[in-house]
């Protein structure tokens, strides 16, 4: 997301919004999904988007099933798979995997998450949802939770900064956003401030809640220290501004209580629905059919 321009982001969001898609647009095209890390939403959402455009899907969702288990490196896997498909969707536990894949692939590579670095199509979905809810991206967004390891935070931060958003940060001790990233977001045009969860709820227009990324903690003891450190409940949201909406890239563990689901503020399942037109737009644009 760092390198995408504001215009490019708007172009994707506008394409998703216009929804001028046809069910045969990608007929005869093949998308290959390579998921070296578990995923439910992202993989299924990409597959659904491709199928709705008439395309075919091949791939794997368990690295054990891949030739990687026989010792093949990612570079060779990508070179091989790019011979079979028109577009590759890659999720990998190592940061920079998608960039490397794009260098060696003959076909476009979509980053579906690389370690704790980036998750650009989730960020595009988040931006699309925020724009739908508020009509603008120049909003006050409070990011809550794991701001250290969550790749969605990094990607959304880059996207929001380009539109001059105000970004409020609330995290448990040890999971703060890095000073380098805060400085970078400010340099891109965002106004960034650190706040408590209560302040975030009082002043924000979007509450972007994240799960603590247990799988990225080098030490399980560190995870236990912050486990359950915050929880969004209907009571907490009582005094919030009328227009506050709650987003979450999902999956959630215990950071949003299920009672919030029934309030009009809960928009995380709308977010899930919005991922389809956004990913359809990304695929259609990359393959040159819109």
């Amino acid at each position: 997301m760092r390198e995408m321009s504001r215009e490019e982001i708007e172009h994707i969001l506008n394409t998703a919004e216009r929804a001028e898609f046809r069910g045969d647009m990608l007929q005869g095209r093949v998308m290959c999904t390579l998921f070296f890390e578990p995923s439910t939403r992202t993989r299924l959402s990409f597959e659904a988007a491709m199928k709705r455009l008439g395309g075919e899907v091949v791939g794997f969702s368990k690295p054990g099933a891949a030739s990687l288990s026989k010792g093949e490196n990612l570079t060779d896997t990508i070179r091989t798979v790019s011979c079979y498909s028109d577009v590759i969707v890659l999720r990998h536990p190592r940061e920079g995997a998608a960039r490397l894949a794009a260098e060696v692939s003959d076909v476009p590579v979509i980053n579906a998450g690389d370690g704790s670095n980036q998750h650009p199509t989730q960020a595009l979905t988040d931006l699309y949802t925020i724009r739908k809810e508020h009509g603008t991206l120049r909003v006050r967004v409070a990011m809550v939770g794991d701001l250290k390891y969550a790749r969605t935070v990094r990607s959304l931060g880059h996207g929001l900064a380009k539109f001059g958003a105000r970004i409020m940060l609330s995290s448990p001790p040890g999971l703060e956003m890095s000073p380098e990233l805060m400085e970078e977001l400010e340099g891109m045009g965002a106004r960034v401030e650190v706040c408590s969860l209560e302040e975030a709820v009082e002043r924000a227009e979007v509450l972007y809640v994240t799960r603590i990324q247990k799988e990225r903690f080098p030490d399980p003891e560190e995870y236990r220290k912050v486990q359950g450190a915050y929880r969004i409940t209907p009571e907490l949201l009582e005094g919030a501004p009328q227009n506050l909406v709650v987003l979450h890239p999902l999956p959630r563990v215990d950071e949003i209580s299920p009672e919030v689901d029934h309030t009009p503020r809960a928009r995380y399942f709308h977010q899930v629905r919005n991922s389809i037109p956004v990913r359809m737009a990304v695929l259609a644009l990359l393959l040159g059919v819109v």
């Binding site: 490196n73 990612l74 190592r94 920079g96 260098e103 704790s116 380098e180």
Partner: protein
């Protein structure tokens, strides 16, 4: 005069002067000298300098180093100057400058970067020259001065 005795003049080649004191051997490592080149290399360390107090000097005989080769040493010795010598005379003098991209000299400081497990040369975009800050083009992580110096 004293300096002339310690480090004699070379007939043809390259003199890298004003290297940050203590970095001469690291500079040789970056330049992959003298291994395989056949060049005679003279190293002088902690040489008195009016500008910096003390400095290191490297002289490479019989070989003129290209700009793109020596610019890589700017990561460690940003004040270094390059003198091309022909027939005992300096015919070209220039300061090193940090290139736009740094390749093949450093590893990424992020242990989870893909470059540690794949057959690819780490590459870094120079985000800032003073203080030096490099961004890995793969994992996007920033490396600062301490992390760079710590690799030599």
């Amino acid at each position: 005069m004293e300096q002339d005795i310690r480090v004699r003049k070379i007939k043809d080649g390259t003199v890298i002067d004003h290297i940050t004191a203590g970095q001469a051997l690291n500079v040789l490592r970056i330049l992959n000298l003298p291994s395989g080149s056949g060049a005679t290399v003279t190293v002088a360390m902690n040489v008195p300098s009016r500008k910096a107090g003390v400095k290191d000097i490297v002289k490479v005989e019989g070989r003129e180093l290209r700009s793109e080769e020596v610019d890589r040493i700017a990561l460690l010795a940003p004040e270094a100057t390059i003198n091309i010598v022909r027939n005992y005379r300096v015919v070209e003098k220039k300061k090193v400058s940090i290139p736009e991209m740094v390749e093949g000299v450093l590893g990424c400081a992020n242990p989870n970067c893909i470059t540690h497990v794949e057959p690819v040369k780490p590459r870094f975009r120079v985000e800032s020259r003073k203080p030096i800050r490099l961004r890995c083009i793969y994992c996007e992580r920033i490396m600062c001065e301490g992390e760079i110096a710590g690799q030599f």
